[in-house]
Symmetry: C2
Subunit: 415 residues, 2 copies
């Protein structure tokens, strides 16, 4: 293998810890400088910048700045929404040749892994020595063959904390029905994670609806009504990708600019839609919350476990590339120990690219309106330190029979 | 004045610091125990619990628990949505007589101040010695005769931080149009506070729309388009109480269960409505975020200035009541010093009860799509420590002419 330069790009939507992987790559590439690579190149705006040769020298970034970038949301290199064309892959190889790029690390979700796979294939076919390693990343946790994805733990913590805070507020001033919408198109992992908000029976979330199960409106109304009857409130968490029985996204923005390849609108209106329906049908006051991008951009709820793992998968990618490995994505493999431990592994890019990991059946209850204990066990370690629990007043009932009567006597003396 | 018992209740919607006022009241009442009051009584569920004699002995709460309650969202005593009836005031006085309550502190917004005013009036008319003091509280900052309200600073910090985080994410992966909705029915203070997110030209928020100005859709589209043309993105902040030119809430939930006294729907759909319109009319992909109750329930963005002031107004209320003052609300008066300092003052309850403080004209720009420098100066000290600023990579352009060429030579030697 020719020693050469390393290029890293960040694809798809950012996470709260995406830059930890970037810093992991830079740190490890610097540490292993003796064995190459000579240059650590960053592609600005992902594939867009790569194709336009909008490249920077990451080796020149100062250590103190990188420490700050480690804790900064958004993709520090920038990302893009490019729909890849066949000719793009050839152009990318041209750029790699021009800059002597021999290690290409791509940090992204399954779309990005597909791109990485195609680039790897073309390099092999055309005899260009190139090591391509995928670094997993997505708040949606929908990548196959990895226990979970870096970015999910922090977003899960955000959703759980927001649900607990909002639920606590509502407990003190009941709104009959409150619906919280989480990100997630086909996989409901983040909605499911809201279960970590619950401390006691009756606490938010009272029910969770996932895109893995089509929503039956009648069952939904019955659930809402039962929670309202029992607790005087219902805090419901729904995934933005929730569909009706015909498979249409609930409350999707349907205008042309937002329609997807299947003619479906852009999801992200399920909570608004259901709140209006609850108002109409159950005649209960209903509101909705949609923290949206906050789930992936908030640095206040970062999971320290997630952050560390994001850093490690970045480092591991460099190690693999320098060893001559290519065409794989780094994975996280949960060990069977009692204490939570994840080691890194690998999986071929192609099998990640074509898959989407939905929530398995044993993580969803039979009624399809909540998650199981098995899911809680899976998810709990990923958010790191537990979210803050809130105390209630001890609320000692006022005792009228002694001090109050006594005080009235005293009061009479004083007045 | 007869020495007697003190009763505190929390009214209306909670804030992130409402319990700081409660702890301030308890601490001060304990400290001044020698001069009375003998009992510190808490009414659970606000006026509902007061009328039903659901009362607790706050003097028995442990100091260590109160320290935790100080940092807990939601109303620790509980609140309610009661629509007061004339007979309720008489019943409240009955309860006060039964429990020898001589000091009534009510922590709330203008609705609560109206209730406090009516109770005070009835006590005077019927010759029952009672000191009624209002403690201000609302994230909406819409109380008259006070520089600002406890609760606003923390909610403002939350909105500014969320706008900066979401804006930073979008800067790294542009969504053409993103609309963030903030709480606020008639007063746009929280939407306005999002301006504190902006670090540089082009940063979020690009425009802010307030309910103090009716929205002209054509101007809105022109604004969005101008930002998109210039920066490739538009991050817009709107207040949930935004109305169209006919005065109707944009995107309000209009079903019967949510209609208000004026037949208007429940606000809280402006962002969803405008995102759909932008999709339709400008043919630009648009999404929306609605952090909603998070603004008042999140303990991760508490302003230490707000927290301290909330505590102080609670303490001051006890001092005033014990001095024999009645029928006033504690206010915050900003001093004219260079450094931000607020002292407490008072205003008669009636004049707070009947007023709603909208954003004054000199805080809104001429076009009605942003705030002025004067507003920024007003708002900045209230959020306490500034929100985290995010760094960008230095982005040293890759220099092909020396090391890369050189590296290619080396590479040739190696291979």
């Amino acid at each position: 293998m020719a020693a050469g330069n390393l290029l890293i790009a960040q694809g798809g939507g950012p996470t709260a810890v995406i830059n930890c992987s970037l810093v992991g790559v830079i740190d490890e590439a610097k540490r292993l400088k003796a064995k190459g690579p000579r240059k650590i190149i960053g592609a600005l705006r992902s594939i867009d910048g790569l194709i336009e040769e909008d490249l920077i020298d990451l080796g020149k970034e100062s250590g103190s700045l990188l420490k700050k970038i480690y804790n900064t949301p958004g993709a520090a290199l920038g990302s893009c929404r490019r729909k890849m064309q066949e000719e793009d892959y050839g152009r990318i190889l041209e750029v790699f040749k021009k800059y002597d790029v021999r290690y290409f690390l791509y940090n992204g979700g399954n779309g990005s892994m597909y791109t990485a796979h195609k680039i790897n294939k073309l390099a092999v076919e055309t005899g260009y020595e190139l090591n391509v390693i995928g670094i997993p990343k997505t708040i949606d946790n929908d990548l196959a063959h990895t226990d979970h994805t870096p970015g999910f733990g922090s977003a899960a913590k955000f959703i759980a904390a927001a649900t607990r805070e909002i639920g606590w507020d509502i407990k003190s001033l009941p709104t009959p029905v409150s619906i919280i919408e989480t990100p997630g198109r086909n996989a409901g992992w983040l909605a499911a994670a809201s279960i970590l908000a619950k401390q006691e029976d009756g606490d938010a979330p009272n029910f969770i609806y996932l895109p893995e199960r089509k929503l039956k409106l009648d069952s939904f109304f019955a659930d809402v009504d039962s929670s309202y009857s029992k607790y005087g409130r219902a805090v419901i968490v729904v995934c933005e990708g929730l569909t009706d029985e015909s498979g249409q996204y609930l409350g999707a923005v349907k205008s042309e600019a937002s329609r997807d390849g299947f003619g479906r609108g852009l999801p992200g209106g399920a909570a608004a839609f259901l709140a209006e329906k609850v108002n109409e049908v159950l005649k209960l006051r209903a509101r909705y919350e949609k923290p949206g991008l906050g789930a992936r951009a908030s640095v206040r709820y970062i999971s320290e476990v997630d952050q560390k793992e994001a850093y490690i998968v970045g480092k591991t990618a460099v190690q693999l590339a320098l060893k001559g490995t290519s065409g794989v994505m780094v994975t996280l493999e949960r060990q069977k120990e009692k204490k939570y431990i994840c080691k890194t592994g690998t999986v071929v890019l192609e099998s990640v690219a074509i898959a989407e990991k939905l929530i398995p059946a044993d993580f969803i209850n039979e009624e399809g309106n909540n998650v199981t204990e098995a899911f809680i066990e899976y998810c709990r370690p990923l958010i790191g330190k537990p979210i803050a629990s809130f105390p209630s007043l001890a609320s000692h009932k006022l005792n009228m029979n002694n001090s109050l009567k006594q005080s009235r006597v005293t009061s009479a003396k004083v007045s």
